[in-house]
Symmetry: C2
Subunit: 186 residues, 2 copies
Amino acid sequence: MAILDAAKVQFAEYGYHGATIRAIAAAAGVDPALVHHFYGTKEHLFAAAMELPVTPSEAITAALSRREPGSSLGTHMVRSALALWESAGARSSLQAMLRSALTSEQAAATLRDFMTEGILRPLASVAGGATPDRASFRASLIATQMLGLAVGRYVLRFGPVAQASPDELAAAIGPVIDHYLTSDIS
Amino acid sequence: MAILDAAKVQFAEYGYHGATIRAIAAAAGVDPALVHHFYGTKEHLFAAAMELPVTPSEAITAALSRREPGSSLGTHMVRSALALWESAGARSSLQAMLRSALTSEQAAATLRDFMTEGILRPLASVAGGATPDRASFRASLIATQMLGLAVGRYVLRFGPVAQASPDELAAAIGPVIDHYLTSDIS
């Protein structure tokens, strides 16, 4: 518990890039090896401090490896994200993350850096696999659609998007993700 | 000023549907006709209380009437929304709206009702004009993409989406809005 408290303080004060396992361990009064032993990488430690159920990069990698035959990559990504969110208390995690980003510019910067490393980078490697141009722009476009889906469905809960089944949403939004992954976007 | 303060209290307490011009006028100690004279409809009064630069339904209607020849409806909608947001301090309005929705379930419900009346309904009439099936589902899908774009670009400001020009974003996201307006989405 002391480690997570120290991590929260360090991430809030120095941002995702500035915080180090070494400084967090020192603040908690433990050896850095102990922090590594319990939490693994900095991404894992941040996910634990933010009370995320999984690290985004692992969720993306795992989802891609379980792709069903006949399902487009975009449809599969939407379905996987919804399965994770439905089961994992997405609403409270999302609210906590958005609330911290709205509270201060530093918190927004921390979340932005974490999303860049944990979400946009693995997405960009997928996007770059299909068509190598503008992979990070493609990844951030995907992030806008998925972010809007999550906020619209779980936080604001507006109408049909909150009531639709995961399959309906995957069928409607999957082609959009495929468009961002592979179409000519300029 | 007393009218707007009374409006904020009534909207927070009774929601968008529950609050009435009559009750707001009574709370402010003025005649309802005065409220109508200064603020027009309930939508206008809500927009003023939330410090929105325009009412969403008027912005949507105005944008649609100024559509350039050769530009798809989706591309035009993205370009119009960006033009409005860039000029109108979108960041602070968005932050205020999201913060209130995160603060309480009642505030989220009020915002949801307002968005349904002010954004989803005019969008649904556009979507229904192209293909009449599932207009409100189509409208709410468009809302997820535009909400995610706004939050990603102005609040979290992640990478390429924050740096891209409005034209680049309109070119990339316009076809997505067209897809939600007209494609087979089931």
